[in-house]
């Protein structure tokens, strides 16, 4: 354990302190910090990578690109979407286009240390790939948008880089492709064309591509900027008449040209979320203005 990252975390905790409104900023990729509030930044830097454990530890301020490059030297990668910092990606909690095959970003977090509203460094989870010791603070923190604590350093579960990986297109029915292909990494659909990402042994990819008449292509389509979250069964009802979209089949994320409709949150869940925010940040000093949605 490098004392460098630990010292950085301690200094970060001092910076967050225990009084007054404070917000956290990274590279500003996912919305950035709250305007007009004192801004702090989590420590950057990779502490260690253990390829045989498929784990790594880094500061939450480490750019995702830096982690990707360092892991690639060991033939590994991590299911965190590209861009910004590791802390930002986890705090927002949106997964990348490979979620169907690689799982959601929330499952990558094994251990977290965060700075609480009191300025304490708090640990949740553990360093091993399997662990049920205590309540699952990691899942609580992923997607909490810095409203319960500021991520300081994390241990992530890594994965082997695919032996081979290729994008294809098809004019076939996306649900038939989802049903027939063996564990595709991604199936995207814009209402007309289906994009498929396959990974694994090159022979297996070629065999599946031939079997389902897939045509090689360079990559996924351009994604509209707004993000919807729908039950995967609702994607069949999407229509291009409503504007261009790219839907993640089997997952339920839809990249759409217009913002998602407002939702009616369950008052019981709203109340529970408020109690959580109250328990973790009674003064409402962390990322003020970002509500404990829904």
């Amino acid at each position: 354990m490098s004392s460098g990252l630990d010292a950085g975390v301690d200094a970060f905790a001092d910076e967050v302190g225990s009084e007054g409104p404070v917000t956290i900023g990274g590279l500003g990729t996912r919305g950035g910090s709250v305007a007009g509030v004192r801004t702090v930044a989590a420590p950057p830097g990779i502490d260690w990578i253990e390829p045989a454990e498929m784990t790594m530890r880094c500061g939450a301020g480490t750019p995702v690109a830096e982690v990707e490059a360092a892991l690639a030297e060991h033939g590994q990668c991590v299911a965190v979407p590209a861009g910004g910092t590791i802390g930002g990606a986890l705090a927002v909690g949106h997964s990348g286009l490979r979620r169907l095959g690689w799982g959601p970003v929330r499952d990558t977090l094994l251990q977290v240390r965060y700075v609480s509203a009191r300025g304490d460094v708090v640990k949740g989870g553990g360093p091993t790939v399997k662990n049920v010791s205590g309540f699952d603070m990691c899942r609580l923190l992923v997607g909490s948008r810095g409203t319960l604590g500021f991520l300081a350093d994390v241990i992530l579960r890594t994965r082997p880089q695919p032996v081979d990986e290729r994008w294809f297109t098809s004019t076939g029915d996306p649900w038939e492709l989802l049903a027939g292909l063996f564990r595709p990494t991604s199936v995207l659909w814009d209402g007309t064309t289906t994009w498929v990402l396959l990974d694994g042994h090159p022979d297996d990819i070629s065999t599946q591509a031939a079997q389902f008449s897939l045509a090689a292509t360079d990559g996924p389509p351009e994604l509209p900027v707004h993000r919807w979250s729908l039950p995967p069964s609702a994607l069949a009802d999407l229509s291009r008449d409503d504007g261009p979209f790219v839907a993640e089949i089997g997952v339920g994320v839809v990249h759409h040209h217009r913002p998602a409709d407002a939702r009616n949150p369950d008052p019981v869940v709203v109340d529970l979320s408020r109690r959580l925010k109250e328990a973790f940040d009674p003064g409402g000093r962390l990322n003020p203005g970002i509500g404990p949605a829904p």
Binding site: R99, N131, D136
Partner: protein, 477 residues
């Protein structure tokens, strides 16, 4: 106890549920004193819920009377998580056992919590899908219990534990209100309360319906049995396989004592004269499986492997897995009682920690067998003993504590899949500081301010609360 006066609590419960769903007879309350651990409590009454409405009614009565409650599935938990504290209400969910709906296209299903783990996979097998978590108790453990404990199993190495296979949970919160945490949709707004609920050991409310993820069955499977003259060589191969970029579906290890016990039981031709064997399973499309089998053979040769046996057909594969999964039954032939431990260490620490486990057992004059999920470093040392032997229980507990301490000191964790429950509650400070534990207590308080939902588990109790509830017998306190 016949002729005993019915308590106001029981009377009130009977006004909400049918009389036959509310049992307070001595025989029934006695039966529900414990789970599969060695600890015992004593419930005031056992309620057999048949619906979400039933669960909600019981929880509301519990709130009215200020009486704690604990939800219980099949009672296969090993950490005392379902042990009722004295005077509490047990809510049995075994009769809530319907598979509500299956969406084979999008691969998800809504099930009630009492559905048995293996029953779910068996009943949806014709759709070419399964529920991935497969604890060794999968024939008898319930999905609700899997959710409470965030259960694992051999095949969680590649696919992840229960949390990764739960989209949503319908929950009766500890105050009796009903909500759905998470959803079929991938990114529900707000906090990941679904993720927080999974593994909360019944302390955040009662799951009444679960939306689980289903996985495609693999088209090809190769199951390999590899044996070694030295346990350390087998452990090294585990690390080497992962470092080579292969994540098998499962990597299980059995040591010699375990191999011998199992072989006597099932006659599978196991290598009983070898120090250890690894059961490795790789799955997927044919070229992937073939390439991985070849690579594992190469790596194994470099680790001084003896025989490499690849199951020739489904029957042989089933036999090898039967050996692994019946280990606990086989062990009864050696001694009548066993204490099964559950810790996780980094894979690289497996050889050293295993050596310590053998040393600790020898020092306490106990027999230890090891059969465990080597792929994710999840140790399951089994201390076998005869409870009739005077003083043996103390030695078993002392050895157990040392095994847990050695695992944590090696960079590991208290539990990989059994949970903390009562068993390891007071060992939590080995891993967590006071500040860490206070945050977990805050989380618990947000869900259950009145501390009625399965109290006194997981978090070490502050001294001031020690008199509130008496500690069940057999707890390590």
């Amino acid at each position: 106890m016949t002729g005993r006066a019915t308590t106001p609590l029981v009377e009130r419960l009977r006004s909400c549920l049918r009389a036959d769903q509310v049992r307070d007879g001595a025989a029934e309350t006695h039966l529900y004193r414990h789970d599969a651990s060695s600890m015992q409590g004593h419930p005031a009454v056992v309620c057999f819920a048949e619906s979400t409405r039933d669960v909600q009614a019981v929880v509301k009565v519990a709130n009215e009377f200020g009486v704690p409650f604990v939800a219980r599935g099949s009672g296969t938990g090993l950490a005392g998580g379902a042990v009722p504290i004295p005077g509490s209400i047990v809510i049995s969910t075994t009769k809530m056992n319907r598979i509500v709906s299956v969406d084979a296209v999008n691969r998800l299903a809504w099930v009630e919590p009492g559905v048995l783990n293996l029953d779910l996979s068996t009943q949806i097998a014709h759709l070419g899908v399964h529920f991935a978590p497969d604890p060794s108790s999968q024939q008898t453990c319930s999905i609700g219990g899997n959710v409470a404990n965030n259960s694992g199993g051999p095949h969680c190495l590649a696919d992840g534990v229960t949390s990764a296979h739960v989209h949503a949970v319908e929950v009766v919160l500890p105050d009796g209100s009903l909500c759905v945490l998470g959803g079929e949709e991938p990114e529900p707004d707000g906090y990941d309360l679904r993720g927080v609920f999974v593994g909360s050991e019944g302390m955040f409310g009662v799951a009444t319906k679960v939306c689980v993820k289903l996985l495609q069955n693999p088209p090809h499977v190769a199951t390999m049995l590899l044996d070694f003259a030295d346990v350390a060589d087998g452990a090294q191969l585990v690390s080497d396989i992962i470092a080579a970029g292969i994540v098998p579906a499962a990597v299980e290890m059995m040591d010699q004592l375990c191999l011998r016990a199992v072989e006597e039981f099932i006659h599978a031709g196991l290598p009983v004269d070898r120090a250890a064997a690894l059961l490795v399973e790789v799955v997927g499309l044919p070229a992937t499986v073939a390439a991985q089998v070849d690579r594992i053979r190469e790596l194994a040769t470099a680790c001084n492997v003896g025989d490499v046996r690849v199951a020739a057909d489904d029957a042989e594969r089933a036999l090898l897995w039967k050996g692994r999964k019946s280990a606990f039954g086989a062990i009864a032939r050696i001694k009548p009682n066993y204490y099964l431990h559950d810790t996780v260490v980094p894979r690289r620490e497996l050889p050293g920690v295993l050596a310590s486990v053998y040393e600790i057992a020898a020092r306490h004059d106990l027999l230890v067998l090891n059969v465990f999920h080597a792929g994710d470093g999840n140790l399951h040392p089994l201390l076998v003993y005869d409870a009739r032997e005077p003083g043996v229980i103390d030695r078993v507990h002392a050895a157990g504590r040392e095994i847990v301490s050695v695992s944590v000191a090696a960079g590991g964790v208290l539990s990989g899949e059994h949970g903390i429950g009562l068993e390891k509650r007071d060992l939590m400070p080995l891993m967590f500081s006071e500040v860490d534990l206070a945050a977990q207590a805050d989380l618990r308080r947000a869900f259950d301010p009145e501390r009625l939902s399965n109290p006194d588990k997981v978090l070490p109790s502050p001294a001031t609360c020690a008199d509130v509830h008496s500690v069940p017998e057999g707890a390590w306190v």
